[in-house]
Amino acid sequence: MMDNKNLRKILIGIAGRWTLIFLALEIIFFSIFGINYFSLKNLQNILLASTTVLLLATGETFVIVTGGIDLSVGFMVGFSGVICAKVMVTLQAAGASQAVAISSGILAALLLGLLPGLVNGLLVAKLRVPPFIATFGMLGIAYGFAEIICNNVPIMGLPTSVGSIGHGYLIYWLPGKIFAFLQKPENLTRLELQNLVSIIPNVTVITAIVIGIFAFILARTKFGQHTYAIGGSMDAAERAGINVKRHLIKVYMISSFFASLAGVTYVLRFITGRAPAGSARLLDAVVAVVIGGASLYGGTGTILGTVIGALIIGVLEIGLVNLGIPTYNLYIAVGCILIFAVLVDQFFPELVRKE
């Protein structure tokens, strides 16, 4: 009897953390069968490659927790990326210094990037347009404007420092000789360059800090509690004195902010602004949130879960490339994992929820 209870506890523990276990299994599998998969360099590459999905999915988590959905985030990446790149190029051409051009480009993208979120929020909260439609309309509008701004060609010729930020690392370490922060040591021999260990990409640092802050907001602050309350029951939230409309507008702006940040990191990483930049990542983001345990009906979901969901996709993606398996298998795999995730949720609600 005692054994049985313990077994049940273990089972519940496994089912409740199946995403984490799945992620670990994935990494173990690819480490065994892949070439150089389990190495500092490759693991950092996975984090870098997952940047867009991580950011989009974190913003999307807020929206999905309220019971809505934001379809505009994919093209918002291109929208803010194009703005960012355009401002940088224009200022540089006008003779501004690189620092000024870059910082104002980033600032402009992040500020203007809030606008679609504001409009989405107003449409959803004040005019009661279903989120699916409002944000889908915004998808088209954001994409159209992005193409108009960049005139249908990728924006090139950005300030050179953009690349050194986007491709830079937090720590450079040459065993026994150099230990530098942010600044890549110069005048190294070829051998030294090969041995130079770069630790934690700048872009990942930014991503991690922002996601950390918002994870705290969702889990520990009143704002987060209200978000869950609205997703659980909008009427109850309203009766409890929450200004639901204002809150929803803020939530859509958060989602929009994350999409803009994803656009900025895209520009930093690829040193170009493209209109369709993140379009293919929209559904990956939604998938990551759902794998992470959120329900599309609202009220459940955590940032940690979402991060694990995004990493499951990222690890799989890089792993398939590493094994030389064509990437289209990724879509099949992600589709199956998605359905599986929801089925686990449906069939073992007591396993996943209680405890």
Binding site: I69, L71, L123, L127, R128, V129, P130, F132, I133, A134, F136, G137, M138, L139, G140, I141, Y143, G144, F145, E147, I148, N152, A275, P276, S279, A280, L283, V286, V287, V290, L296, Y297, P326, Y328, N329, L330, Y331, I332, A333, V334, G335, C336, L338, I339, V342, L343, Q346
Partner: protein, 353 residues
């Protein structure tokens, strides 16, 4: 009810149609060569794919669900039926046999994703958005895997003839002929040849009339509306909801499969759906512009047809005016939001009489 109110109500209910007519007039005045048999044929031919996808989606949306997989089911069927046609043709079968086999096997295979969607949604209680999103990925991956990312070519040449055929031809020299394209040698004669109604458009029109009849006049349609309006009530009224929903998703998939086969005829090639082409989203937009609600219980094939024509006319008109293609994304986004706003802000105009 006053006359003014009646007029407003008429506008509220038929704004999409009125907007379409307005747009047609506007483009006819502003655009070069917009108003003409040839261009109207082009508009119709261009929207055939979207029309099929959106009609299938209409059934799903009326039942209160959503089907995101249609775009890639279309690509999947397009690739499979093209491969079958190519291989049979290469093996020396008569063209008619390989074309028939390719299209019918393609459509049959296309029913499977819909069936799986339906089972996932009804029996396993997966939300429609998720189930069909999963199928979206699976169908996309399979199609890509089958064609390795390349177009499937070397199909029976008759396929192209069917896809490019018109119902009637009229040439000043040779007179009137049905289905048979008159053989002309002079350049001027070829330019003057009048082509009336593309064959694919006729086939789709027949298909749509049948399904519009099923939706509006048959028990099946009534049950679909009932489920979308209120599932509980539908169950109490004795509708076998799970089975009905499975059929609805199979219908949606069937339309997507037809669109895939049609693509083979139109392009004489099998291609997988591009990752970013967002067919499903445009189909949903057309259905919503046509007056359906994502909450279910509302919508009609006729409305969807207008929604599709609206999008198609907009695309074509902007193109004929020489504007870059991306303006259409902004325009469709705005129209979509306006469509729902009209619905939200003036419900009394739209519903009550």
């Amino acid at each position: 009810m006053t006359k003014k109110r009646k007029a407003l109500s008429f506008i509220g209910r038929n704004w999409a149609l009125l907007f379409l007519i307005l747009m047609l007039m506007l483009f006819s005045i502003l655009g070069k060569n917009f108003f003409g048999l040839r261009n109207f044929s082009n508009i119709l031919l261009a929207v055939t794919t979207l029309l099929l996808l959106a009609s299938g989606e209409t059934f799903v949306i009326i039942s209160g669900g959503i089907d995101l997989s249609i775009g890639f089911v279309m690509g999947f069927v397009c690739v499979t039926s093209a491969i079958i046609m190519r291989d049979l043709h290469a093996a020396g079968f008569p063209q008619a046999v390989s074309i028939m086999a390719g299209s019918s096997i393609g459509i049959l295979l296309g029913l499977i994703p819909g069936f799986i969607n339906g089972v996932l949604i009804t029996k396993l209680r997966v939300p429609p958005f998720i189930a069909t999103l999963g199928m979206w990925g699976i169908a996309n991956g399979l199609a890509w895997r089958l064609c390795e990312g390349f177009p499937i070519a070397f199909l029976p040449p008759k396929a192209r003839d069917i896809g490019m055929a018109y119902i009637a031809y009229y040439s000043p020299k040779k007179g009137f002929s049905l289905f048979d394209r008159p053989v002309l040698t002079e350049r001027a004669d070829i330019l003057n040849l009048m082509k009336i109604i593309p064959l694919p458009v006729l086939l789709i029109a027949i298909l749509l009339v049948i399904f519009a009849f099923i939706l509006s006049k048959r028990k099946f349609g009534q049950h679909t509306y009932a489920i979308g309006g209120k599932v509980d009530a539908a169950i109490r009224a004795g509708v076998n909801v799970p089975w009905h929903l499975i059929k609805v998703y199979v219908i949606s998939s069937f339309f997507a499969a037809c669109a895939g086969v049609l693509l083979v005829f139109k392009l004489n090639m099998g291609i997988h759906t591009q990752y970013t082409s967002s067919y499903e989203l445009f189909a949903i937009a057309a259905v919503v512009i046509g007056g359906a609600s994502l909450m279910g219980g509302k919508g009609s094939i006729w409305g969807t047809v207008i929604g599709v024509l609206l999008i198609g006319t907009l695309n074509n008109g902007l193109m004929m005016m020489g504007l870059p293609i991306f303006y259409r994304y902004i325009a469709i986004g705005c129209i979509l939001i306006v469509a729902v706003l009209i619905d939200q802000l003036f419900p009394e105009l739209v519903y009550k009489e």
